[in-house]
C-alpha cells in the first residue's frame, strides 16, 4: 500500500485510536517520509528521527484528517519541513557541511535485489549522493520531491508553501547547477 491508497475510512479508524489502522498508515507512508528525510538530511539517524517526529505529530493530529487529500498534503509538507529543520540543527550543531552519510549504504534496500542490481545501484547511489550534496536545502527539497518522489508542481508548491512559479524556478536553477557540475567536472 502507498500513500495514495490510504482511504478515508482508514484515517477515521486511526483517529478513533485504532492502532492497527495507524500501523497500516505508517506502513503506507513511512517509506516516503524516510526517503525524503534521507535525501534532505543526508544522515540516517536524522532520517529516523524525522520519521519518528512526523508520525507522533500525525497521531496527535489525526482527527484533522478526515479526507485523504488533506492527509497527503500534510504528510508531504511536514516530512520536508521536519527534515529541513533537523538538517539545519545538525549543521549549526556541528558547524559543518552535512555530507551524505556512508552508513546509509548499509540501510535495507527495498525489494529483492540481485547482484547485478546491487552493483548498478551502488554506482548510481554514489552519483546521486554527489548530485544531491551539491544543492542547497531549498533546491534539494524541490529536486527530491520532483525527481525521486514524482510529485507534480502543484503538490510540491503545496508541500513547501510556495507558488508554482517559484517551484519551477528552483527546479530550473537546481538542474542548471547539476548540469554545470556533471558536465564540467565529469561527475559521471
Amino acid at each position: 500500500m502507498e500513500i495514495s491508497d490510504i482511504s478515508n475510512e482508514l484515517l477515521k479508524s486511526a483517529a478513533k485510536g485504532n492502532m492497527n489502522a495507524f500501523e497500516a498508515i505508517y506502513k503506507a507512508s513511512s517509506g516516503f517520509v524516510y526517503n525524503v528525510a534521507l535525501r534532505v538530511t543526508c544522515d540516517k539517524e536524522d532520517a529516523e528521527e524525522t520519521v519518528q517526529e512526523v508520525f507522533i505529530k500525525l497521531f496527535e493530529g489525526l482527527k484533522d484528517f478526515q479526507f485523504k487529500s488533506a492527509f497527503k498534503t500534510w504528510i508531504y509538507r511536514v516530512s520536508v519541513n521536519t527534515a529541513l529543520n533537523l538538517r539545519k540543527k545538525a549543521g549549526s550543531r556541528a558547524g559543518r557541511q552535512v555530507e551524505f552519510d556512508e552508513s546509509i549504504a548499509n540501510s535495507e534496500m527495498s525489494g529483492e535485489d540481485n547482484v547485478e542490481k546491487i552493483i548498478t545501484d551502488n554506482s548510481n547511489r554514489e552519483i546521486v549522493d554527489k548530485m544531491i550534496g551539491m544543492l542547497s536545502p531549498d533546491y534539494r527539497a524541490c529536486i527530491v520531491l520532483r525527481e525521486m518522489q514524482g510529485l507534480s508542481y502543484e503538490e510540491i508548491a503545496k508541500a513547501l508553501g510556495l507558488n508554482i512559479n517559484t517551484v519551477r524556478t528552483r527546479l530550473k536553477r537546481a538542474r542548471e547547477i547539476l548540469a554545470k557540475e556533471v558536465l564540467v567536472n565529469e561527475l559521471q
Partner: protein, 161 residues
Amino acid sequence: MNCNKIRDIIITDYVDNELDGRTREEIELHLSSCSACRTFKAALVSYISEPLRSAPVFTPPVALWYKVRSEIERLEDEKPVFIGTIISSLFPKWVNIAAMASLVVITSLAGNILAHNIWVKASQQSVASASAEESDSTALGELADIPSEQVAKIYSNIIGG
C-alpha cells in the same frame, strides 16, 4: 520561440510532464529540426533526470515502527485523563448528547428553584422590615396627640440629654 526559450521549457515543464498538449507539440516540432536543442534535452535526461529518477529507494528499519509506537504510548500515558472522557467513551454518541441535554434542563430547573427561594426570602424580609418601619411611624404618630409645647419640651430634653 527561439532556442533559449525552448530550453527554459525543456529543463522544467517538458521533462516534468507539466505541459499542455499544444505546447508539447510545439517543442517536439522544434526538437525535430534543431540538433543543438536535441543534444541539450538528451544530456539533461541522461545525466540528470535518469540517475535521480532511478535512485535506490530505502526501506525504513523495521524497529523504527516499534520505536514510534512505544513513544506514542508513552505520550498517551502521560496525558491527564478526565472522568468525562472516560464516561463519554463508554456510551454511544446519542446517549452522551441526551445526558448533556438532561444536565442542561436539570441545571436550569435547579437555578429557577433557587432563584424563586431567594426571591421569596427577600420578599418576606422586606415585608418584615416594612412592618417594623410602620410600627416606628405609629409610635411617632402618637406624638401628634400630645400638645405642641410638650412635644417641643420632649425634643429639647432628648437633644439636650
